[in-house]
């Protein structure tokens, strides 16, 4: 379970989040929608622990523990996973080397033993097959020369491998064609579980046809301004964000 209470965040003296409250329960898929510049990506980075942001107030509790003072690697070990909107290319680091180092670092932090190489390879192969990721892609440097769709599939592969309890998908649908969207959504849906929750950040209702949310929250000017069920996404698709901008302006 993730609880965000009165989160106030700024970057270089510019206030981005203004007292944001949000609760996502175990097993829940929550969607955040909102116009450009409403602070959606900032929220995902702050939860994951990017140091560029200054947290002025509030708490982020992961299963009851405030994670804001933790380094990003400790948050990952605690069960947090952020699927990046723009996954980074890391020349010279083979995807398999990276996956193994990351998985073992998380296991070590949790006091679990390292995975044996055959065991590791077996897990990667299963996850890769589900996401239609070819073997040779894993031999290449991480994300280098990957298409937009391949990069997003690689993110979901990591999500499947690390088995986090709380997953943030930051505009995972951006830059995906219909087939890639289907594969990625299938991968995410396969990971739905009673002890795992998701925060899906998106501009468009399209993704939510594939990953059906339990709740939808509208974000504007750094706050949640409306919450509802999955039907709220359809309403937004029909009417746009204009109504919520007016709420802010009033």
């Amino acid at each position: 379970m993730l609880e965000i209470k009165n989160l106030v965040v700024q970057i270089e003296d510019k206030r981005i989040l203004n007292g944001l409250d949000l609760t996502v329960h175990d097993g829940e898929i929550a969607a955040i929608m909102g116009p450009n510049g409403s602070g959606k990506s900032t929220l995902s980075y702050v939860i994951a622990g990017k140091s560029d942001y200054e947290v002025l107030d509030g708490e982020v509790l992961l299963d009851g523990e405030n994670i804001l003072e933790m380094d990003p690697d400790a948050r990952a070990a605690a069960g947090l996973f952020l699927a990046f909107q723009y996954p980074l290319e890391i020349p010279g680091v083979a995807s398999m080397t990276f996956l193994k180092a990351a998985l073992n670092a998380q296991r070590k932090a949790r006091g679990e033993g390292e995975l044996s190489t055959p065991d590791f390879i077996k897990r990667v192969n299963v996850a890769a097959a589900n996401l239609e990721i070819p073997r040779d892609m894993l031999k290449r440097a991480l994300n280098v020369g990957f298409s937009g769709g391949e990069k997003k599939r690689m993110e979901i592969l990591q999500m499947a491998l690390f088995e986090p309890t709380f997953c943030i998908l930051d505009e995972t649908d951006s830059g995906l064609d219909i087939d890639a969207l289907r594969i990625v959504s299938k991968g995410v849906n396969a990971l739905r579980a009673t002890n795992r929750s998701f925060l899906v950040i998106t501009h468009y209702q399209r993704l939510l046809e594939h990953i059906v949310p339990d709740s939808v929250h509208v974000m504007s000017s750094g706050r949640i301004v409306k919450s509802g069920g999955k039907e709220l996404a359809l309403e937004l698709e029909a009417n746009g964000y204009a109504d919520y901008r007016e709420i802010e302006a009033a």
């Binding site: 622990g49 010279g92 990351a102 932090a109």
Partner: protein, 437 residues
């Protein structure tokens, strides 16, 4: 105008005294040694007002001259070699040197692999061996003061002649031992005859805490159609001053590739002088340097395309931590007749600390009009966004940094074809990174 007489520094005075007392016992022709020393002595130790030494001021860096080394006892040599770690366990033809002297007992001259002949340098100098007429194949080296000092002081080394495809790599293993600082001067000449092939590996090791001074020269002649792979590792102790020169003359249709990996020495300068003397040849010259503390390391390179249709690639990577200083000076020279030259040089530095410094000086001198040449130099820090990405995947900061540093250096190391040597170099890099934690 008044004549200016430069004051000799204590190190220069000591070098002159050392030469006077050593010249009688050094092998070979005293006159040619004296000429070399005289040329060196005219200008003394090069300093920052000498363009090639602007960033490595030897007059300032070399405060004292250590006494010339003498050969250690067979027992001391055996112990020193048993402690050497570089490229251990790899099947090679090992040519060991302790304190600059060939350990002849460790080398089975009568059971050399097919296609390889070896003559100890001291003996060759004393007897005036035929092969020595091929010493000093590259003029850029002859004009260099470090090389001139080596010509004056060289006490031992080997001449290697390769006449076939040498199956076994040749390992020139240099180990310096003892707690009193000594000065070492070795010279190795490698003659690779037409269509012959050899892999040459060099390691330089000593313990921390003793300020040995080494001046090692490797000269290599690759005849037409010859192919030479070269791997060099500087794993010297933390007080050592290591000066080294690699002079390479390449015939037609030949290929040469070389990497110098540096983690050792307080002060090091590795000079490469490569000369293309025949068409359609290729050279790849790489460096991977990792510095910490107050280390100073200089990679200086001149590649002369003395023939048309040759290709050269130079890639130097430097990682600088703490208050260390890196230097890269590279020059590609293309004379008027060297049309269709293809030369590319790149130096990239990664600064891990506030106090580190990198001096990059890439140069092109092009006198031909139908060539492709380029050079680049970068200095940067670890990318914060990449670090965040890796940490968000669970890697602690130090591990994330290590992965990125390894990736940065990897580009320079990965072209080493021989898996055993490549793995040994990567393990050496990993050892350096692990010591950072």
């Amino acid at each position: 105008m008044s004549a200016i007489t430069l004051m000799k520094t204590p190190a220069e005075t000591a070098l002159a005294q050392a030469f006077e007392s050593a010249k009688a016992r050094l092998p070979g022709d005293v006159e040619s040694r004296a000429r070399a020393f005289e040329i060196f002595n005219r200008n003394g130790l090069p300093h920052r007002r000498v363009e090639e030494f602007k960033y490595t001021d030897l007059r300032a860096l070399m405060q004292v001259a250590a006494p010339a080394a003498v050969a250690v006892s067979p027992e001391e040599a055996r112990v020193a070699l048993s402690e050497a770690r570089a490229f251990a366990g790899i099947d090679v033809l090992r040519i060991p040197f302790v304190n600059g002297y060939l350990v002849e007992t460790a080398l089975a001259f009568d059971r050399l692999p097919e296609g390889i002949d070896i003559v100890p340098l001291a003996g060759a100098l004393a007897s005036g061996h035929d092969w020595l007429s091929r010493l000093s194949p590259v003029h850029w080296a002859r004009e260099n003061p470090i090389y001139q000092l080596n010509s004056a002081f060289m006490a031992d080394g080997v001449v290697i002649r390769v006449t076939a495809q040498a199956r076994s790599p040749v390992h020139l293993q240099f180990v310096t031992t003892g707690t009193d600082a000594v000065a070492i001067a070795t010279r190795v000449l490698v003659i690779v005859e037409p269509d012959a092939t050899v892999t040459l590996v060099e390691s330089h090791e000593s313990r921390d805490g003793t300020a040995h001074q080494s001046n090692d020269v490797v000269e290599l002649i690759a005849a037409d159609g010859a192919h030479v792979r070269h791997v060099r590792l500087n794993a010297e102790g933390d007080q050592v001053m290591a000066l080294s020169t690699l002079a390479v003359k390449l015939g037609a249709e030949s290929s040469f590739n070389s990497i110098n990996v540096v983690t050792g020495s307080a002060v090091s300068r590795h000079q490469v002088f490569a000369l293309f003397s025949g068409e359609n040849s290729t050279a790849q010259i790489n460096g991977a340097t990792m510095l910490k503390g107050r280390q100073h390391s200089d990679s200086t390179l001149i590649v002369e395309h003395g023939a048309p249709h040759c290709e050269s690639r130079e890639l130097f990577k430097t990682v600088i931590d703490d208050d260390a200083t890196g230097v890269f000076q590279g020059k590609i020279i293309v004379p008027p007749h060297a049309q269709k030259t293809d030369g590319r040089m790149m130096s990239a530095a990664l600064l891990l600390s506030e106090g580190g410094a990198m001096n990059n000086k890439p140069e092109l001198e092009i006198f031909a009009d139908d060539v492709q040449c380029g050079h680049g130099a970068t200095c940067g820090q670890l990318d914060e966004d990449l670090l965040f990405y890796l940490m968000a995947r669970g890697l602690p900061k130090v591990e994330a940094e290590s992965l990125l540093i390894q990736a940065f250096l990897g580009e320079a190391v990965e072209f080493v074809e021989n898996e055993s040597f490549r793995d040994a170099l990567i393990a050496h890099v990993e050892g350096w990174l692990a010591a950072r934690d």
